[in-house]
Symmetry: C2
Subunit: 292 residues, 2 copies
DNA sequence: TTTTTGTCTTTTATCTACAATAGACAGTTC
DNA sequence: GAACTGTCTATTGTAGATAAAAGACAAAAA
């Protein structure tokens, strides 16, 4: 098939949730805006809902006939976009199964393994290449450079430069800048998780990304913000992969974050730099320990 | 056609130059290694040379029959790879013809204009997106963010961070590191161009890239080195585009480079930083002046 | 007049096909 | 026996085709 209708399926599932809460659906453009898809897709969804006798649809009236059941939803694995599937598949391969640095990566083989066309794999590899883990030999294969100690050191070197700069510019944001409110919310979440660390330490990963991204964004520099993608993906898969002492590590990082947040609030450059450096140093250590 | 044989044509042209200098060609694998292509392509080249009665080829013996003439070469425009063609075409569009920030970029239209398939255009845009000038709306078009003042400021901010760090680490390279010899050669070229500035000021652009890349490489950090691609492409097209006062600007930059090189040779961190900052500041000014 | 719907066109995402190129292997030559 | 050639296979780069999704525009409804 030419294109998977994952956009439709995912949007359909999200529409079902909306439907569970109301007795009538809004207009097509409005629905499209809330779900984030075009009217074409909305109309396909409405048609499907009508078929399933979930709604009675006639022009502007979309009356809800019954509540959605579990079997009305499309299964979660059918709503993932192809690029997400390829990314997961690829990361599993290079993190898990004997992926030696220097190994060749074969587009055709990857595509066959994943069960997709080569075009999608190729585009994924091109996009992925900016993470510095693979390199193309023109007219030939890709080379896996590997998730090595050097990689981690180079990554963290740049990260430290960028984050120090971003943290410093955070201090100069106007008092009414929305970032300060977001910082408050993030701080509160830290306290919540710490209060119940034994059962909630796994929530750290997501919060970590949210916090550091907030800091990076205050640089107002697209290159710095974009670079955070690399850090995020590395840490994301790193957390999934290395779970030894996760509870202690995360508790410690949460404490460091709180000190870092407190420093940001003082707007004192020296304090911010010290707290930021302290946290980044221990983040680097954690990452390095998980390698080799 | 499925694939342009530009690799063959370009390799053929380069082989012709080799042929002009010898009376017999080496073995197929050796030729492949010097030209940088596979044996398959080498054999295609030899076959073509035989057809043109340039050589007599029988197994290991490849006797040169005559010197290549101008018409034996493939025209230069046929040896450019598709991605080079697309890049040039695209850059001309966004730098020259009324390319407002916020404009939509249409893959199909671009492909039709350039006369290629959509796949190649798409892959180009994905690769190009890391330069921060365009952004993708999934399932929809790309947005041109534009070569704006903000772009230039963000770019130079990161450049300054990276180059200061790289220059500092240049000072720590061992005395026998090849970079020092390359620095000598580059310095000599600066003097050569300056001595004949009126006729050779156009050579600055290439030398500029060579010098700054050398500095960035001493960081031994793939992210820093890769980032230099963005700077290089921006300055490359910028030089082609903005030619006002090129002679004076280049003369001044050459002088700044010489001071910068002299500072690197002292290995004194403070001097290096001062000279590097001075040059980067004026490079930024030049770039900013050319915008809007 | 403003928003919504019906209908239609255009573009994107993805697959498949195929020539160009790389690369593997066995037999041949030095 | 080391390197080279002949031959064959596999992979990459690119075009073209097609379903999904976006989006344009006029008619209809509020």
């Amino acid at each position: 098939m030419a294109k998977q209708n994952t956009v439709f399926k995912d949007a359909f599932n999200r529409c079902l949730k909306l439907l569970a809460e109301t007795s009538a659906l809004p207009s097509e453009p409005e629905l499209g805006a809330t779900i984030g898809v075009s009217r074409t897709t909305i109309r396909a969804i409405l048609t499907r809902m009508e078929e399933l006798q979930l709604i009675a649809w006639d022009k502007r009236t979309k009356v809800v006939l019954r509540h959605p059941k579990a079997e009305d939803y499309y299964p979660a694995e059918e709503t993932d976009s192809l690029s997400e599937i390829i990314e997961r598949s690829f990361m599993r391969r290079i993190l898990a199964g004997g992926a030696e640095p220097g190994m060749q990566i074969n587009e055709l083989e990857l595509a066959r393994d994943i069960g997709t066309g080569t075009t999608s794999v190729r585009e994924f590899l091109i996009r992925f290449s900016r993470f510095g883990l693979i390199e193309k030999r023109p007219n030939s294969h890709w080379i896996l450079k590997g998730f090595t100690r050097e990689f981690a050191l180079e990554l963290t070197e740049v990260r430290e430069m960028f984050e120090l700069r971003s943290a410093a510019s955070f201090a100069t944001l106007d008092a009414d800048h929305p970032a300060w409110q977001e910082l408050e919310r993030i701080e509160a979440l830290h306290h919540e998780i710490l209060a119940d660390i034994d059962s909630r330490y796994r929530d750290f990963s997501e919060l970590d990304e949210r916090f550091h991204l907030l800091v990076h964004k205050s640089s107002s520099n697209r290159f710095i913000v974009d670079f955070y993608d690399i850090i995020a993906i590395v840490f994301h898969y790193h957390y999934q992969w290395n779970k030894t002492n996760a509870r202690e590590r995360n508790a410690r990082a949460l404490e460091e974050h709180l000190a870092y947040i407190a420093a940001l609030k003082t707007r004192d450059v020296a304090q911010i730099e010290a707290a930021c450096k302290r946290h980044l140093r221990s983040a680097r250590e954690t990452l390095l320990q998980s390698i080799q």
